[in-house]
């Protein structure tokens, strides 16, 4: 069986294009191949473009206030390591592997990332870099309009 999150399986991983054994008589009690194929198409597509991690981090406290990981749908894992390097600079360090739905370790590296300041008034801006120290690292930089570093709550999206 192919790996799901943190991997991003394509449509092929969900099996071939399914066909009905016989015509669907009652679509409320029978799952036709068309519906099932649509489910597979959408699951593959959504999995590929969906952020794999969303973290809300309060840089003032500092503390993670919310975390959602695509490979941890029951929310059992501890918080991703975030190290405040200084005012307005936060290192987010993911592990190099996470387990998939089968318990198999799957390699993880960051492919893209975004960060958005959450505090009001929204004078702060957040930007990110990827892979400064490792392929699993996102560094968030927060500052005001002049670029002066400031602490703030940020929403971080990672692909």
């Amino acid at each position: 069986m192919a790996s799901g999150f943190p991997d991003t399986p394509n449509r092929t991983a969900f099996g071939p294009t399914f066909q009905d054994k016989r015509p669907v008589v009652d679509p409320t009690k029978e799952l036709g191949s068309q519906v099932f194929n649509l489910m597979a198409w959408q699951m593959a597509g959504a999995g590929i473009v969906c952020p794999r991690a969303m973290i809300i981090y309060d840089g003032s406290t500092p503390a993670t206030t919310y975390q959602a990981l695509a490979w941890d749908p029951n929310g059992l894992l501890g918080n991703i390591s975030i190290t405040k390097q200084g005012t307005g600079e936060y290192d987010v360090d993911f592990a190099s592997t996470y387990t998939d739905q089968n318990g198999t370790a799957v390699s993880f590296s960051v492919r893209g990332a975004m960060a958005f300041g959450q505090d009001a008034p929204s004078q702060v801006q957040a930007v990110v870099t990827i892979g400064e120290d490792s392929p699993q690292q996102v560094t968030v930089y927060v500052g005001n309009q002049a670029g002066t570093p400031q602490d703030a709550t940020v929403l971080i999206l990672v692909w």
């Binding site: 991003t8 394509n10 449509r11 699951m43 597509g45 893209g112 930007v127 870099t129």
Partner: protein, 174 residues
């Protein structure tokens, strides 16, 4: 059936499912209507909410070298095998990324792409976001939907208004 790049909502999966039998006897070996309705509900939500394209690349590096990650919800086998190396994928053509100036990137997509049934359907973005992947928090990134298939991204210094050359950017398009 539609599916990505269209927006298939819950209705695309049919009327709410009902159990054939009275109840689930072995939850490991049978799927209930309630479970299937949850699948359909969640998939309908994904279909409405998910971006259609995720892009990571550089503003200022012309051509394919400006892109090192590209994924489409409607072309699940597409992407870049290695950074900067674009791979062929079915019949969809990612036209090009061409820099119009040092801090800008224009990405033009095909006007039609194949859907789940292989039919050619219109690709039309409704919006997008771009976030600069740089260290300067004074950097701003703006995204303009030039046409329904073309976006222009600019990364610049808010204080000076000047472009920030060759800055990486992550883009999501809906």
């Amino acid at each position: 059936m539609a599916g990505f790049p269209g927006r298939s909502n819950r209705l695309a999966y049919g009327d709410p499912f009902q159990d054939v039998l009275g109840g689930q006897t072995d939850p490991r070996r049978s799927v209930t209507a309630a479970q299937m309705n949850l699948y359909a509900h969640q998939l309908g939500g994904f279909g409405m909410m998910m971006p259609l394209v995720i892009f990571h690349g550089s503003c200022g590096d012309a051509g394919s070298q400006g892109c090192d990650f590209l994924r489409y919800a409607f072309a699940t086998a597409s992407g870049l095998a290695t950074p900067g190396t674009r791979v062929a994928y079915d019949t969809i053509t990612y036209v090009d990324s061409a820099s119009s100036s040092s801090g800008e990137l224009t990405i033009t997509f095909d006007s039609t792409v194949p859907d789940i049934d292989g039919n050619s359907v219109a690709l039309a973005f409704t919006g997008g976001v771009a976030v600069a992947n740089v260290t300067d928090p004074a950097a701003r990134s703006e995204l303009e939907l030039v046409t329904s298939q073309q976006v222009r991204i600019r990364v610049y210094d808010f204080a000076t208004g000047s472009d920030i050359a060759d800055s990486d950017v992550t883009v999501a398009l809906w």
